[in-house]
Amino acid sequence: MSRPGTSLSIAQQLRKTTQLGLEEAARSLDKKHVGNNYTSKVKIGQKYNIIGFISSGTYGRVYKAVEKNPRSDPSSPVGSAAPKELYAIKKFKPEKEGDNVQYTGLSQSAIREMSLCTELSHPNLVHLAEIVLEDKCVFMVFEYCEHDLLQIIHHHTQPTRRPIPATMIKSILFQLLNGLYYLHQNWVIHRDLKPANIMVTSSGHVRIGDLGLARLFHKPLSSLYSGDKVVVTIWYRSPDLLLGARHYTPAIDMWAVGCIFAELLSLRPIFKGEETKMDSKKTVPFQRNQMGKIVEILGLPRRENWKGLADMPEYPQLQSLVVSRSGMPGGLYPNPPTSMNRGGSGGGANNGSGLETWYNNCLRHASYPPDKSPGQRGFQLLSELFEYDPDKRLTAERALHHEYFRNTDEGPHKGEIWVSNNCFEGLDEVYPHRRVSTETNDIGTGSLPGTKRGGLPDDSLLPAAKRR
């Protein structure tokens, strides 16, 4: 674990590459001439070869790159250069100039992400190699991860649907929870967990990526809600957020973990709602469709099980959802009698029956061999992650101790919580390498042509076909 005490030494590491640039900045000032830009002598283009373009989002673009002159081991014989390391370089979109919005220096979110990334360090978080400032551009150089969950899930649907092996799901989930536990322990909420943001290295290690939306929550001076209105891609958004929670908690990340678990099992998003766009008045709309998708499977949240439910800002909207549903045949309110006989299932879930049906259908379709199935313990975990009440929802720490992760294989670790940190362990499946496009390799600091989303979209599985 990184300690704040080491931060200044990290600072020195990071400064190695930028010191030269500072001299130049200082020199230009000596000449009584202040450049409009921060000039760094080490340009990203001089240190790294851009191999291709990976993806783009609202923040900017991500490129695959290789270091030009890796520090080779002087003791090694001539000619055998060190293997070139791969990097993913995240280039923040320069804040737009003109268009009423004036340049205000580096963007708030970039500075926040840089600050978090320099302090946080964990095997299950994507590793930051260095930061390069150039003109008005920020480049964050991360280790390169060959896969992400979106890509892995997609691979299992092509050409026919093949379930992801249960051991792999278990390993992915455990590593994901481990990284998340570290974040939450350090008072950081990720706020944007989704398959596309969860990387997997070629050696099977899971790395949580994209801390762009992550925030500290230990001291919310003003409501987190008012800062940046909408967080978490809609399919992974928890009911407390959908119902207008102002002060949200790490529990929103845990809901997203539940969604990811379900998606790994079924290979499609479990709650695939349609986003209601913000209206012209810039008020945040109630995401009726998304809430409806959740209610379809989990049943309605109930005041008996969720103490604060009636106080949620969008509670009246939920009531209207009830009214519009109760007319339908087999409506979920009032509860159909079948769900009364849910036996010992469900654990903490408000209405386990729908989820149990979903889960059992899912396992049946996947036809896991009986000894290699996520089994009932998987269902227990899922239902505890899909707990409506954020206060009762499983925490990352408790999830890591869940029975689901207890090792049942014969061997020295039988009966312990023991999960491999290589999610590909024992598997023959070869996952395709990340596709990079070589068309737009210009990583220059100029304005970006078309900052519209292209490549791997952040929040949609649909254009997967297009990527082929």
Partner: protein
């Protein structure tokens, strides 16, 4: 640098003795005075910008971190005034209450003009009837200052290694006086006064000690001054502060008033330029 084993978000990166020595060796004769004046300027600007004290404190601590973790030549590029403006702008940007670059430029123009109430700028005191033309910022000046601010912001960020998180002692101090059962408005006020003054100290207290130690020392001094009796035993040990650290900090807080007076005498009638 020694690892810290306490809860992460209650602690700060601390300065090494080498860094302190380097700073001491690289500073000119009036280095202490410049840093003291710069901290006052930052504080005054924060107040005029109506920023919460926590943001002001963060700005001052970032400024101090920049002093120790950057090289002397890195610090040549801009004036102490611009570094102060850049850190307050940066700290405000990261808070819930960002400020516009124009406000920052205006406030700093005012605080370093003939109309400034700051004594190290106007040793004779501010004129009773200041001329607004003295601190008027023309569009050209604004444009130039704004660009300078942004470049300086980048220089600061690189200098501190992009780590902008600062843990502060204020809420800890309040909790501690509640735990000690001596919570009162007058004591809390005096504790905060010491904590605020401690930010101005050229001894870089926030880089040499963790927030919990600062809080304990401020309580110790404040309780003595306001005549509030604390428990007999070595209560500071409960908060993980040993006698030696407490002694150092109590002296630091207690001597700040003398240092400020000495500074005032030293610069009596002479302006100290931060430009």
């Amino acid at each position: 640098m020694a690892p810290i084993s306490s809860v992460e978000y209650l602690s700060n990166p601390l300065v090494t003795s080498n860094q302190l020595l380097d700073l001491k060796n690289s500073e000119r004769d009036n280095g202490l005075s410049v840093r003291f004046a710069q901290a006052q300027l930052t504080s005054a600007a924060g107040i005029l910008l109506r920023l919460p004290q926590e943001v002001i404190a963060q700005a001052i601590v970032l400024l101090q971190r920049f002093w120790v973790s950057s090289r002397p030549e890195d610090r040549e590029g801009f004036s102490p005034k611009t570094f102060s403006a850049a850190t307050i702008y940066l700290a405000a940007k990261l808070s819930a209450t960002p400020v516009a670059p124009r406000s920052v430029v205006n406030v700093y123009a005012y605080l370093t003009s003939k109309a400034s109430p700051l004594l190290f700028v106007n040793p004779q005191g501010a004129p009773t009837d200041p001329d607004p033309a003295d601190y008027y910022v023309s569009e050209g000046t604004y444009e130039r200052e704004r660009q300078r601010l942004f470049v300086c912001e980048s220089v600061v960020l690189v200098g501190i290694g992009f780590d902008t998180r600062v843990a502060l002692p204020y809420s800890l101090a309040l909790t501690y006086i509640q735990v000690l059962g001596v919570s009162s408005a007058s004591l809390a006020r005096r504790v905060f006064e010491h904590l605020n003054a401690g930010l101005l100290s050229p001894q870089l207290l926030h880089l040499t000690h963790q927030p919990h130690a600062l809080a304990v020392a401020a309580i110790y001094v404040a309780a003595r001054e306001t005549g509030i009796k604390l428990v007999e035993q070595n209560w500071w040990e409960v908060f993980d502060v040993d006698r030696e650290d407490l002694g150092f900090l109590v002296l630091a807080y207690g001597s700040l008033a003398n240092f400020a007076e000495a500074e005032a005498k030293k610069w009596k009638g002479i302006a100290l330029s931060l430009d």
